[in-house]
């Protein structure tokens, strides 16, 4: 579900659909390249549409970077589950993970673009969220 690692901010894509999550990750890789740690997760624990906390925790781990991780989500459950996952992280990591209020596909591409230039977690989040500003 992931590859590449660097000191850049990691990007996690969370969608109710694993196909959307995977497809958005493909777009990020093609448009931004491999300079950004990237992971995706989608679907419930039975493989149906939905999101699950365990999958999100794994994705955060896979995309981990000392610079932090920005999570892009689609619908409400993805956001609630991501916030739950965030709270379950160790305290020192929790402070370095954010959920972005941005459209999942466009947000992921913009966030990764920002990250690939070495921007901070706050800057990555801000760029992604400009879509809704």
């Amino acid at each position: 579900m992931s590859n590449s690692s660097s000191g850049n901010v990691g990007i996690v894509i969370v969608s109710h659909s694993s196909k959307i999550a995977e497809g958005a990750a493909d777009m990020v890789r093609q448009m931004v390249g491999n300079a950004v740690p990237l992971a995706w997760t989608g679907g419930d624990t039975d493989g149906g549409l939905g999101t699950n906390v365990a999958g999100i925790l794994e994705a955060i781990e896979a995309a981990w970077s000392p610079a932090g991780v920005a999570i892009l989500v689609d619908l409400g459950g993805a956001e609630t589950n991501s916030e739950m996952a965030l709270e379950m992280l160790a305290e020192d990591r929790r402070a370095r993970v954010v959920v972005c209020n941005a459209p999942v596909v466009e947000g992921a591409v913009i966030a990764a673009t920002e990250s690939s230039g070495g921007s901070s977690l706050a800057a990555v989040k801000r760029s992604a969220e400009e879509f809704y500003a």
């Binding site: 549409l49 939905g50 365990a54 459950g77 609630t80």
Partner: protein, 204 residues
């Protein structure tokens, strides 16, 4: 109030049975105004809880509730997993091992507060809070098991004419009116199962 091991296991089985037996009904409510997976999700979560018996009931009541919450968070999926799971986890965190009724009221208050924070929601938005809050009011004012269960069921019914402003149904805007909120229905079923298993008596 003291719950021995057998009573704790009875409580777990009653909660799980209420979700498993009503899975189809919950799913059909969710098909009307949500994404149609609520019954399946809750059933999956509580089947996972049942699978942790008998060890689950060996734990103290607070530890057992926390474990139920964690299993629900990990297994239910959707937004309901974190919401219902948070309720159980916070209830467990706030309870002493041998809680009095007053301890339970206080712990339920805290747990409902945590659900509000988790969902960034308040009562009146057509969510499970529209059952939790009024049922808690009856519990806090001394109602017995029957009164609490009745209020929970009526509160779920009262979500039918409400306009959803939080949760998936809020996407539908006015089309959410006229359908019972599935999360409210499942909350009322869980409350009904819990208070029947715990046999709350009225206090004045």
């Amino acid at each position: 109030m003291s719950l021995d091991r057998a009573a704790r296991e009875r409580l777990v089985r009653a909660l799980a049975a209420s979700m498993i037996e009503h899975a189809e009904e919950l799913t059909s409510l969710d098909q009307a105004i949500g994404d149609g997976d609520h019954g399946l999700n809750m059933k999956r979560g509580f089947e996972a809880v049942l699978a942790t018996l008998p060890g689950l009931a060996d734990k103290s009541l607070p530890e057992m509730l926390k474990a139920i919450g964690m299993t629900l968070v990990m297994k239910v999926g959707g937004a309901s997993g974190p919401l219902v799971g948070t309720f159980f986890m916070e209830l467990g965190k706030a309870l002493p091992e041998q809680p009095t009724r007053a301890d339970l009221v206080a712990a339920a208050d805290k747990a409902i507060g945590a659900v509000k924070l988790r969902g960034r929601s308040e009562a009146g938005q057509k969510t499970l809070l529209d059952v939790l809050v009024p049922a808690q009011a009856v519990f806090a004012s001394g109602g017995d098991a029957r009164a609490i269960a009745a209020e929970a069921a009526q509160a779920a019914d009262r979500t039918t004419p409400m306009l959803a402003t939080r949760g998936r149904a809020s996407f539908l805007g006015e089309r959410s009116i006229g359908h019972m909120d599935p999360g409210s229905r499942s909350a009322s079923l869980l409350i009904g199962a819990a208070v029947a298993a715990l046999e709350f008596e009225a206090v004045s």
